[in-house]
């Protein structure tokens, strides 16, 4: 309720107490599943990579590919340009391979404890998966433990399996596309990933096929001290369509866990790929201890004319998020989209955004980024829109809005625009503000509690992005934001 004298300071102080209480809430998904894992000892060397590759039963070319990437990685300096404060990472203290023992052959054989874990998280793995029409390739630590709907997908000609399996079963396809969007030496963390990637998803949609269901992978980091190095590759042939969902939660840990994933998307002529992410890894405690380091390279290549790649992300977790899902608009009239909500709280840091590289004629891109900072966090949008000489008639529209909640957080915007074609139109708009007192007052005068009002306003702020998400994800995203932000107004 509003005090009678209308003293806004009093409201603010009381608000602060509520905020502190609501924000102090424990990480709801923080628990550890007790499953034996078969791991390599910590450390990184050519030997470790050979062992890792051997355990996964990979062909020689794959081992060599990894080793080449590793040798290149050794020559690279760790990047420092992002607006992030990163403690030194001891790459030798990380175990690069962990897989649950007793590999199950099917979902029925899956360790019930594991399924229980998924249940706690509300993962639509089996019944729910069927009901929701979602096929799940769940990555528990580093090896896929269950894959559903394989048959239905196979009937449509869609390949959806773990990367390890793809390397064994479809080596030609993997060899053709792996590293063709993000080359092994692309950047420091992509090189590391190329050397040690554990597993991930492989999706191949053949010519003219519309994938009959939304594909979904839940990543989950479980074993302590295990870096996760997912490698995902999605190829959509001419005229194909696929919508892919990626979601993550991780149990509470004390030490920083490194996550350096690489996601590559290839869209051939008239193909469309929609990639949605909800990321809710452990962000560390109130003082920023623990939490995941999330250094991701995601890039889509609109290789064919009239192709389209759309990234949607909701980033609420991780101690440090460093990722820029990008589109290389190579084909004429190809379209790239990026919709993002990034929320940081306590001591979280996020430096995220996108790159749109316009190469083909008539290419279009749209960027909508919403950043929300609370506590003592730092949240940056960093984006590049580049129009090369040949991109006749290229068009970009970028909108970046930041919302500040509290006096100790930071919200930053670093958009780069490089235009070399005189027929291109590139537009960028950005605003930064706090939750408006007027809006809050209006809601509260209608009898809506402070927490609900903030939640409503934040929800409205993010709506443009949420409506791009598949429905199940939109619900989850909204809930995540509410949990992270309830009552967060000062």
């Amino acid at each position: 309720m509003i005090p009678d004298n209308g003293d806004s300071t009093a409201t603010a102080l009381r608000g602060n107490a509520e905020v502190a209480e609501a924000l102090g809430r424990r990480y709801a998904a923080g628990f550890v599943t007790d499953i034996e894992t078969d791991s390599l000892p910590p450390g990184l060397s050519e030997d470790v990579i050979r062992q890792l590759s051997a355990r996964k039963g990979e062909p020689a070319w794959m081992t060599e590919w990894r080793l080449a990437a590793y040798r290149h990685w050794l020559t690279m300096p760790a990047p420092h340009w992002a607006k992030l404060d990163i403690g030194p990472i001891d790459f030798q203290a990380i175990s690069y391979y962990a897989s649950p023992k007793n590999r199950p052959k099917s979902l029925e054989e899956v360790d019930p404890k594991l399924l229980e874990t998924y249940d706690k998280l509300g993962v639509p793995l089996h019944e729910r998966a069927r009901l929701a029409g979602v096929a799940v390739d769940a990555v528990f630590d580093s090896v896929s433990v269950g894959t559903t709907f394989r048959k239905e997908l196979a009937d449509a000609g869609v390949i959806f399996c773990s990367m390890s399996e793809a390397i064994r079963e479809y080596p030609e396809l993997v060899r053709q596309y792996l590293g063709s969007v993000v080359p092994p030496g692309d950047n420091y963390f992509a090189a590391l990933n190329s050397a040690v990637f554990s597993d991930g998803s492989f999706v191949f949609i053949p010519r003219g096929v519309r994938c009959p269901m939304e594909l979904s992978t839940y990543f989950r980091i479980n074993a302590g001290h295990t870096g996760q190095f997912e490698r995902t590759l999605i190829v959509a042939e001419e005229g194909a369509y696929v919508s892919y969902l990626e979601g993550c939660t991780a149990p509470m840990r004390d030490e920083n866990q490194l996550h350096a994933a690489v996601v590559e998307l290839v869209a051939l002529e008239k193909a469309q790929i929609k990639y949605s992410t909800v990321q809710n890894w452990y962000p560390g405690d109130e003082e920023g201890r623990g939490g995941i380091y999330n250094f991701v390279t995601k890039r889509g290549d609109c290789r064919g004319d009239d192709s389209k790649i759309s990234w949607t992300q909701v980033e609420t977790g991780s101690a440090i998020t460093w990722k820029y899902p990008s589109c290389v608009l190579r084909g004429d009239r190809s379209v790239g989209e990026f919709y993002s909500v990034a929320l940081t709280h306590h001591r979280q840091q996020a430096d995220t955004g996108t790159k749109m590289i316009h190469l083909g004629k008539g290419t279009k891109s749209k960027i909508v980024s919403k950043g929300i900072s609370a506590g003592r966090s730092s949240n940056s949008y960093r984006g590049l829109v580049k129009v090369e000489k040949g991109a006749e008639g290229a068009r970009n529209y970028t909108q970046c809005d930041s919302l500040l909640i509290g006096k100790q957080c930071g919200a930053h915007t670093f958009p780069y625009m490089e235009v070399k074609n005189p027929s291109a139109i590139v537009e960028h708009e950005a605003t930064t503000s706090k939750i408006s007192d007027d809006q809050l007052f209006y809601c509260r005068s209608r009898g809506i509690g402070e927490e609900d009002a903030v939640s409503m306003i934040v929800d409205g702020f993010c709506k443009q992005v949420f409506r791009e998400l598949p429905m199940e994800f939109a619900v989850e995203a909204k809930k995540l934001l509410e949990i992270s932000l309830e009552g967060a107004v000062g």
Binding site: F414, E418, V419, P422
Partner: protein
């Protein structure tokens, strides 16, 4: 990162003896800044502040240190309409009493060449001149701090408000070879003082000199500055400017910047809104063609409560020109009630031209309003169609719209005679213009 041997450019700058002032702290600062310049060399594209401006070609050139001769300059060429107040003129970096007008100064105004000010009372200049430049991209600030022997020292007493604008003129004149010169200005406005200042760069003939100008402005509480920069250097000239502004409580500065000439032009504009309620308005435009390269790096820091900044920048790049703009706004922790806005719009007129722009916001306080917008594009087809449907030929219609696009930055210049002159100057530079 250390270079094995200095580039021809660095070597040519080392050939000159450091200016000797006889003031110990100044000579020490000059030596240190020169050492820092030599140690770091010229920045490359890995330095963020120089990402879009390559100095490889400059690094291979050498310049004679300063110009020993007094070059003939036509005084009539220096005149600007509506600017009839005190004037200091520097030709190739050398002060020229014969062209200047610094006797009969208005009440409360002190204006003299830096070299003279250092001889009479150096101590008040210590804060500005004893500085060490430590940032990665500060190569030319260091070079200027080391080698600038002259410039303008301008002070306006508290409460004084001279009616006429002060005119600082920097002329590049043809010499036997390419010359490097460095100028340093120090401007201070006392409490409640008001001043209009015109910084004017021009050429008295074709040359390809290299020049740096560093200027510091300190505005005490309630001071008001109107500053206008007309940069019309020679086609071959390289010009690097550093402008630093510090605004006290309720101080207000309004800047207009026209970048017209030069081959390689770089301007670093850094403003600190240090006092509560300070306000800064910046308006700027570059009109580039040929192989011109202009790079403006503006950084505004809101340090105090209730500060405001409003920036409007326009750019036009034709032929093989390249325009670069960075507009960074930082709202520091505790700078509540800050209001920052920035608009940067650019026209790209040729397939060989390029525009790179980067508006930035760094916000550390929550009671703020901050917004920026940037565009790169072409003239509005509908506006063109409208004009053509009224019987205006294509070329003329384009020229009209381009001029209108740029003149937005002159709209609030409340010196009518000068505004008209500058609008004509600008129009002549744009496609379809006379020159």
């Amino acid at each position: 990162m250390s270079q094995p041997s200095p580039s021809p450019f660095v070597a040519s700058q080392l050939a000159a003896a450091l200016p000797q002032s006889g003031v110990a702290w100044l000579d020490a600062a000059r030596r240190e800044n020169l050492d820092a310049f030599v140690a770091a060399g010229l920045p490359d594209a890995r330095t963020e502040a120089w990402k879009y401006t390559a100095l490889r070609a400059l690094a291979q050139r050498s310049y004679a240190a300063g110009d020993a001769q007094a070059r003939a300059v036509d005084p009539a060429a220096l005149a600007l309409p509506g600017v009839a107040g005190p004037r200091l003129v520097f030709v190739n970096g050398v002060y020229r009493a014969d062209l200047s007008r610094a006797d009969a100064l208005p009440a409360g105004v002190s204006l003299q060449p830096l070299a003279r000010a250092l001889r009479t009372e150096a101590e008040p200049l210590r804060f500005a001149l004893a500085r060490r430049y430590r940032e990665d991209g500060d190569a030319f600030a260091r070079l200027n701090a080391a080698l600038a022997a002259d410039g303008a020292v301008l002070r306006v007493a508290p409460g004084a408000a001279p009616a006429q604008p002060v005119h600082l003129v920097f002329v590049g004149a043809p010499a036997e070879g390419d010359v490097a010169w460095h100028v340093r200005n120090v401007v201070e406005l006392g409490e409640g003082a008001a001043l209009t200042l015109v910084e004017h760069h021009l050429a008295s003939g074709a040359q390809a000199h290299f020049a740096t100008l560093a200027a510091d402005f300190v505005l005490r509480d309630g001071a008001r500055l109107r500053q206008l920069t007309v940069q019309d250097a020679a086609e071959g000239a390289t010009l690097v400017r550093h402008t630093g502004l510090q605004l006290g409580a309720r101080a207000a500065a309004r800047l207009h910047v026209l970048e017209l000439g030069g081959s390689l032009v770089r301007h670093d504009l850094r403003a600190l809104l240090a006092g509560d309620g300070a306000r800064l308005d910046t308006r700027g435009v570059f009109a580039l063609r040929g192989r011109q390269h202009a790079d403006t790096q503006m950084a505004i820091r809101h340090q105090a409560r209730g500060t405001a900044s409003d920036s409007v920048w326009r750019g036009v790049a034709d032929q093989r020109a390249r325009g670069v703009f960075r507009g960074a706004i930082v709202v520091a922790p505790g700078a509540d009630g800050s209001d920052a806005a920035l608009s940067n719009k650019n026209l790209l007129l040729s397939a060989q031209a390029e525009i790179d722009t980067k508006p930035e916001l760094e916000i550390y306080a929550d009671e703020v309003k901050a917004a920026h917008g940037a565009t790169v594009g072409q003239l509005d087809e509908r506006a063109l169609f409208y004009l053509r449907s009224r019987g205006i030929p294509q070329a003329q219609a384009r020229a009209m719209l381009t001029v209108a696009f740029c003149e937005a930055v002159l709209a609030d210049l409340d010196l009518p005679a000068l505004r008209e002159h500058l609008a004509a100057l600008l129009a002549a530079r744009l496609p379809g213009g006379a020159a």
